[in-house]
């Protein structure tokens, strides 16, 4: 109240006097503003324009400073070693015979399969192929297999038997024994305390002896580099229920429990015997004898989990699950995982995307690319537009005619078909993502210049007729100076408005292209190609942070340019004010 009274009340005489003495347009009385300052004042008073300006400054800071401050790189893929409980090994009760052979291949597959039949029928000899085998029970379903092995060949020549052999010493006594047996039609004869078997007929015979070929058992002996002798002795000992055996000149002790046993050389465990076969799930998994023994023990005792210390001294926990007669051993193993679609957290403020990259970082670099493309395209457009528009407007006549027909033609070229077909041409040439960006800038500028040319030409056509142009002509200025120093600066206000507005439009076009996959391509980030992950409905539904922030950034950036452009137009053109 009191302040109002002061204003309304009579001014002090001295002041009053000085006002009277001043002229109406005295500099001290009227604060004179330059046209530029007037425009600035009007612009800064416009609330929407200020909002737009703040948005744009924020976006520039976000994109250019943000990418620099941010600890992550544009293409950094976040990986994590995480412990995953995975199937480690499987154990099954063994129902097949496993064979240990004296020499490799001594027991052919026919003999192996026939063994089952012989065991079931309770036979002690059987034939498979041309050979005869005899089996000896070692107990616990283990069998010592012997078979005939040829030691000599006999040919009958002129009623005489001629024996040829590598391993046997051919003596007259042997020949006599053979002749006697062969003539009698017997299938075997004894000589020197050994039994020989005769096969063949008429003119050619084979003399064979029974030899130990190997052992077959359903028990599995696990261990490193075990000799045949060791295996046989171990199985024999198991069958006889002994707790020690001798093999390879050493004495081994066993701890036996039902069908399982651990074999010790002194205090070192060298082998485990069991009726379970244990195999790693993945190829190349090494399962130590100790672990195998522990697994078998766990199965025997019905444990569901156990802890074992490995060679490096780490305690590893194993879990056992049973399914019919198959046991699965699971353990935690560390696996490298790409952290895709992580939810927002303190280390990734907007989570990670489908490639495992930080979305906030991608948004910053995407902003850089979108803004740079926008500015480069607008600058190119403006250069072409001002030069051509200036020439057309100033010279008129046929120059104007030609340039404006070119403008008409370019104005009619449908933008999207061109952009899409150029995109697929670039795909077929396999052009790299960086070159694509440059190419995209040029294409967008070439498609965008006509509107600026029209604007510049229209303005210049009307400015050309004004007096100041007559004055420039009278003072004899050169043509280029008249166009670019006197005409074009007068077009700049409209040009700035147009450029600001079209910046927004170019960012929209660019992001739409990138969204459709014909613009900025991976590995470069762009707001559009960040959103393109929504073409997967699952991502759209479940991971809002993958696409909503990017879309929001496009919206407010373009909005910022439009607000500022609108504010500039109002500021430059006060006619609109009532």
């Amino acid at each position: 109240m009191s302040t109002e009274e002061k204003k309304v009340g009579a001014p002090e005489p001295a002041e009053n006097k000085s006002v009277e003495q001043m002229a109406l347009d005295d500099e001290r009385r009227v604060k004179v503003l330059s046209p530029g300052a007037l425009v600035a004042k009007r612009f800064f008073r416009n609330r929407l324009a200020m909002v737009g300006l703040i948005i744009l400054i924020a976006m520039f800071l976000f994109s250019f400073v943000g990418g620099w401050v941010n600890p992550y790189r544009e293409n950094q893929i976040f990986e994590d070693y995480s412990a995953v409980v995975k199937d480690f090994a499987g154990a099954t009760e063994n129902t097949e015979y496993r064979f240990a052979e004296v020499t490799s291949g001594a027991i052919p597959s026919g003999a192996r399969t026939s063994l089952i039949l012989a065991v079931n029928n309770g036979e002690s000899t059987y034939t498979a192929g041309d050979n005869t085998y005899s089996i000896e029970d070692l107990g616990l379903d283990s069998w010592l297999i012997s078979g005939t092995a040829a030691v000599a060949k006999v040919d009958k020549l002129a009623g005489k038997y001629i024996i040829s052999s590598d391993s046997l010493e051919v003596t007259d006594a042997l020949t006599a024994a053979f002749t006697k047996a062969a003539d009698a039609g017997e299938t075997s004869f004894e000589f020197g305390g050994e039994t020989y078997i005769i096969t063949g007929s008429n003119r050619s015979f084979t003399i064979s002896t029974m030899q130990e070929l190997g052992v077959g058992s359903k028990l599995i002996i696990e261990g490193d580099n075990l000799s045949y002798e060791f295996r046989k002795a171990a199985l024999t000992a198991m069958g006889e229920g002994k707790t020690s055996f001798k093999a390879d000149g050493k004495t081994y002790t066993m701890e036996v429990e039902d069908l399982n046993a651990a074999v010790f050389d002194g205090s070192d465990e060298v082998a485990a015997i069991s009726n379970y076969s244990i195999q790693g799930i993945e190829n190349g998994t090494v399962i130590s004898a100790e672990l195998k023994a522990r697994i078998i023990e766990a199965i025997g005792e019905g444990e569901t989990s156990f802890v074992l210390t490995d060679a490096e001294g780490n305690e590893i926990e194993y879990e056992l699950t049973r399914e019919n007669n198959r046991y699965t051993i699971r353990t935690e193993s560390s696996t490298k995982l790409i952290q895709t679609y992580l939810a927002p957290s303190t280390s990734h403020w907007l989570g990670t995307d489908g490639y495992g990259m930080d979305i906030l970082t991608r948004l910053m670099y995407g902003g850089r690319i979108s803004l740079i493309i926008g500015f480069v395209v607008v600058i190119l457009e403006t250069i072409i537009g001002v030069v051509l528009g200036g020439l057309a407007g100033y010279f008129g006549k046929w120059v104007d005619m030609v340039i404006m027909r070119i403008v008409d033609i370019f104005y009619c070229i449908p933008t999207w078909p061109i952009l899409i077909i150029l995109g697929s041409i670039m795909d077929s040439y396999q052009i790299g993502p960086k070159v694509r960006i440059y190419f995209m800038m040029i294409v967008l500028a070439v498609l965008g210049w006509p509107s600026i040319t029209r604007l510049v030409r229209g303005q210049i056509l009307s400015l050309r007729e004004q007096e100041f142009m007559t004055a420039t002509e009278a003072t004899g200025l050169t043509v280029s100076r008249r166009i670019f120093r006197h005409l074009v600066p007068n077009v700049i206000p409209q040009l700035i408005v147009q450029c600001t507005m079209s910046l927004g439009g170019i960012i929209l076009t660019e992001s739409t292209m990138s969204f459709l996959g014909i613009g900025v391509k991976f590995p470069y980030a762009s707001w559009g190609n960040i959103i393109s992950s929504v073409s997967n409905v699952f991502v759209m539904t479940n991971y809002w942070y993958c696409w909503i922030p990017a879309g929001f950034l496009i919206l407010i950036t373009v909005l910022g340019f439009n607000f500022v452009g609108d504010g500039l137009r109002d500021a430059f053109d006060p006619k609109m004010k009532r």
């Binding site: 609330r47 033609i409 449908p414 061109i418 077909i421 041409i425 077929s428 559009g528 696409w547």
Partner: protein
């Protein structure tokens, strides 16, 4: 008037010729291995023509074996006779595919167009009357947001809200799953339901421009002398706005709207693609993204013709609506 129209039509033909030449030249930039691979791929489709036949047809249609100028004229001759060839992607004549799809696009565009007019003009006028008032700010901001929204983002937002969260509408397509079992009226309702989101997208994206155009023109008219005269006569504000101002605002608006009429046929490529509405925009997008040259040549010429017709209509309307304009 007639002389003016004839001159414009001739000019349009001239422009169209060069636009077609540019499109053709761009098409010729495609490596020949691309067309050969395409022909080979096409020939392997079930029931397709053989590789040689495709290649011969492509060569005949586009004159790929001739120089660019020679090839262009042979293509132009075919195109003028209505022979645009077979679409590579859709494997049937381009014009047949065009006839099958154009009306979906037209209906979509026309409904959106009517809604835009109904929303934009009253709001634009309101904003101009209350310049720098609350209503003006709200309308301006909404209009600018509409202009600034990327189509694909807004369409996705709509889908997310109405299809996924609320489950009211289908995500894609023009017809629902049980379309064939519906009554004729039910079929129309089903299609209408599927058109809601595409139309909403088109209206929101496009309404801003028209709203701002109306506002700007209305402001200009309201500053005119005859409005001051009308007010001075003591006419009620309603009469001043609705009769004197509105009629004069209509001149530029009708011109603009007339000019956009042909574009109702052009199809909304991105909206149709996102909602999988089988209109000309969706069909041609699918074709072009797969490098379908016959479709590209046809569709871009079609769009160029639409643009030229639009410009012609705008010019003519400008004279018809405003009797003050004279053609000299």
């Amino acid at each position: 008037m007639r002389k003016f129209v004839v001159r414009r039509v001739l000019l349009s033909v001239f422009i169209l010729f060069f636009v077609a030449l540019i499109m053709y030249t761009i098409m010729r930039c495609i490596p020949s291995s691309f067309t050969e691979a395409k022909a080979r791929q096409l020939s392997q489709l079930p029931g397709a023509k053989s590789y040689e036949e495709w290649l011969a047809q492509l060569n005949a249609l586009y004159g790929l074996d001739k120089s660019i100028i020679g090839g262009f004229f042979s293509w132009l001759g075919d195109a003028l006779r209505g022979n645009f060839g077979d679409s590579w992607y859709w494997n049937k004549p381009v014009l047949e595919e065009f006839r099958n799809t154009i009306w979906y696009s037209f209906v979509l565009g026309a409904i959106a167009f009517v809604l835009e007019i109904v929303i934009a003009i009253p709001l634009g006028i309101l904003a101009a009357r209350k310049q720098y008032g609350m209503a003006d700010y709200v309308i301006t901001v909404v209009a600018l947001i509409g202009i600034s929204l990327p189509t694909f983002f807004f369409a996705t937002l709509l889908k997310y809200a109405f299809s996924i969260q609320l489950n009211w509408l289908d995500l894609y397509g023009l017809v629902g799953r049980f379309y064939d079992q519906l009554s004729p009226f039910g079929k129309i309702l089903d299609m209408g339901k599927h058109m809601i989101m595409p139309i909403a997208t088109l209206v929101i994206i496009n309404v801003g421009g028209l709203m701002r155009y109306t506002r700007t023109n209305m402001l200009e008219v309201l500053n005119a002398d005859y409005i001051r005269t009308a007010r001075a006569k003591g006419l009620p504000e309603n009469v001043v706005i609705n009769k004197h101002a509105f009629r004069n605002t209509l001149i530029p608006i009708v011109t603009l709207l007339g000019g956009t009429l042909p574009s109702l046929f052009s199809g909304a490529m991105i909206t149709e693609t996102l909602f999988q509405i089988p209109g000309i925009g969706y069909v041609s997008y699918q074709a072009m993204i797969n490098g379908d040259i016959p479709f590209y040549m046809f569709y871009s010429c079609f769009l160029a013709i639409l643009t030229l017709v639009g410009m012609l209509i705008a010019d003519i309307l400008y004279a018809v609506v405003d009797p003050r304009v004279r053609f000299d």
